[in-house]
Amino acid sequence: MWFKHALVCAFVLFSVLGCSEKRIDTKPTINIWHWMTDRDPAFQELAKKYEVLTGVRVNFELYAPSEAYSQKIRAAAQGMNLPDIFGILGEKRDFVSFIKAGHILDLTPYMEANANNWKNNFFPKALAVNEFAPGNSYGINPGIFGAPIDIMTIQMVYNKKLFSQLGFDPNRPPKTMQEFLDMGAKIKAAGMQGLVSGWGEVWMIDCLANNYAFNIMGEDKVLATIRGEVPYTDPDWIKVFDIFKQMNDSGVLAQGIVTMINKSAEQLFANEKAVFAFNGSWCVNVYKGMNPHLEYGVMLPPQASSEHPMAIWGGAGSSFMVNAHSRNKEEAVKFLTWLTDQDQQVYLAQVTNNLPANKSSLSKIPEILAQFAREMDYATHPNVWGNSEFSLVIEAFDYGIQSIIIGEKTPEQVAIDVQKIKERELAKKR
């Protein structure tokens, strides 16, 4: 009997509660998805600070590794379940797909409000990655579709202690390709490893090869190649491929570099087993964690030609986008504006050792980070070129360079192979 009474009471209680007015929070919660494991504690700290300041709760959700995050974002976009703020990993075309599908808010009006107040905070090259110019080849309305939270450059680093041991001047890294190649014999004779990098993951090969393509033939010719106006069999491209052969022949490349993952390359450099590394500015944090006493310097990749300036990949390291369908988009924009202010940017740089996107923060960051930032003028990135190469061509290009390094193909053979795929893809497009 008591059970029936309890059941009736519970029914009445839940019915009454169910009829009560829904509690409405005046302050929304902003949900942010990201993949940056190393920055998550700093983000959580900033979220707490923002809640104290504004009463708005910010919920950072970490999804790692980056591959899993990419898949999650894609699935959420397909199901229209994106959070208020999110980042997009991948190439410009991924970004374009999200914009075309209407998932990303155009931040231009916010950036340009109050005489470009927010926009002027950023390094122009950092902003360029998220910006679409009038008449862009992607068919996107001109505008700025993301706020960079940090920047990066990919350069070479060298171990000063190993330089001294080898009899090189630790304050004078090689400036030309010949100087660099000449070091190879000495490195080999000393039983050390030369250049390490994550070339097993191939995109870093693509990055260095593009650096040399800009240096040897200039930006216009590189872009003309992407448009299909210059073939990969052009002598300048063969020179680019040949650089990898020369590096391998000279002994300046570490043994097994073609199957090396970047984490292993970072361990080798941090443990002072390699003289050079080709890595992005994120490495400062990684090396600090692996070997706090590592003495190293930053250098541009040695020039192969004096005809054109050296180029490095750089620009926005990570950016956040606002979900155009979000009910909290105004609050989301306000939070991003606050996150990219000088104080928060300096805090992020000091805690996470990433380069700040806010240009006024540079004076307050560690010296090794500033070295990476100083070469920002040389920075370029496929995302700002306006045209993207076919992914099958990029794949053939990168695998071709791997084949050159392992002595399987000559630069000329690789050039022919890449051009064949380029022509096939162009024919398909036509």
Binding site: S70, R93, K100, Q193, T259, E395
Partner: protein
């Protein structure tokens, strides 16, 4: 009454049919449908291309067939060396030997480890620069310094090295299934044969192997399915496709889904084609085994 019985039967199988349809048939049809489109995986617009993606896979995509060949090579080694080794160990552990339970546990450890972890551990064991170079040190210690080699960075040895590690990881499954199969063979058969004067080889040839054929077929099918779909191990071991030398179908599918211009529709077509190839291989294996029996 008969109609009622029939309906009742259908009601009983309905939950199973529903689950099978929702989780297998419908996704398969959906993925096949996506394979008929040129789609980047994000845009609202998909361009219908008919069977063009399938045509490209079968007639033009040389990388795909290179990947199929690499996977077949790994599978061939697994089918032979791995399964022979697993069978021999199962035979050994089926007898009354000391610490046989301990061996069973030890042999079953590799299959339960994550593929990516196994890849990274073996990378450390094998690699001479990044790792401990243990294999080469053992070879040198055993008096074979001329066999020391860059196993993972030489295109001539990398796939065989991958296959060897894959076998190490996979033989435990075969071992366990073979052992379970061996334990179902009645001991009286062996005893009667021994009374008739049969030696160990004759017992194996005339009793064990014929009675183990269904188990061998099962192990062979599982080996083919597992080996053809291996990819995480390769990522852990060599970081990627290594100029095509370690590319396998699943890595090709992943590669189509990402990059500067992802081809989700093409990846779906690759997935369907690969699935169909595996079904056909399994079917052929099954038919052959039936004929054999």
């Amino acid at each position: 009454m008969k109609i009622k019985d029939t309906l009742e039967n259908y009601v009983f199988v309905l939950p199973a049919v529903a689950i099978f349809s929702i989780f297998y048939i419908i996704p398969f049809i959906w993925v096949f449908r996506l394979g008929l489109f040129d789609w980047d995986g994000i845009s609202f617009t998909k361009t219908f291309v008919g069977l063009q993606n399938f045509k490209e896979i079968f007639l033009q995509d040389r990388n795909w067939w290179q990947a199929m060949w690499n996977a077949s090579y790994i599978t061939l080694i697994a089918l032979t060396l791995q399964n022979i080794f697993a069978f021999m160990l199962a035979l050994a552990c089926d007898r009354e030997i000391r610490m046989k339970n301990f061996y069973r546990v030890i042999f079953f450890i590799p299959p339960v480890l994550s593929e990516i972890v196994v890849g990274m551990v073996w990378r450390f064991i094998i690699n001479d620069i990044e790792g401990a170079n243990i294999i080469n040190r053992l070879l040198a210690g055993a008096g074979f310094p001329n066999l020391m080699h860059h196993w993972l960075s030489d295109p001539k040895t990398v796939l065989t090295t991958v296959a060897a590690v894959h076998c190490w990881k996979g033989f435990g499954w075969g071992f366990l299934i073979f052992l379970a199969g061996l334990q179902t063979i009645p001991h009286q058969l062996y005893e009667s044969a021994q009374v008739d004067g049969a030696n160990a080889w004759q017992l194996l040839k005339k009793i064990t192997i014929p009675l183990m054929i269904p188990v061998m077929v099962l192990v062979a099918i599982l080996t083919v399915l597992g080996s053809m779909q291996a990819f995480a191990l390769i990522l852990g071991l060599v970081g990627g496709e290594f100029a095509g030398h370690t590319s396998v179908p699943v890595l090709r599918i992943l590669s189509s889904m990402r990059g500067s211009s992802p081809r989700f529709g093409y990846a779906c077509a690759q997935g369907i084609s690969f699935g169909m190839i595996l079904v056909i291989i399994s079917f052929i294996q099954y038919r052959f085994s039936n004929k054999g029996q």
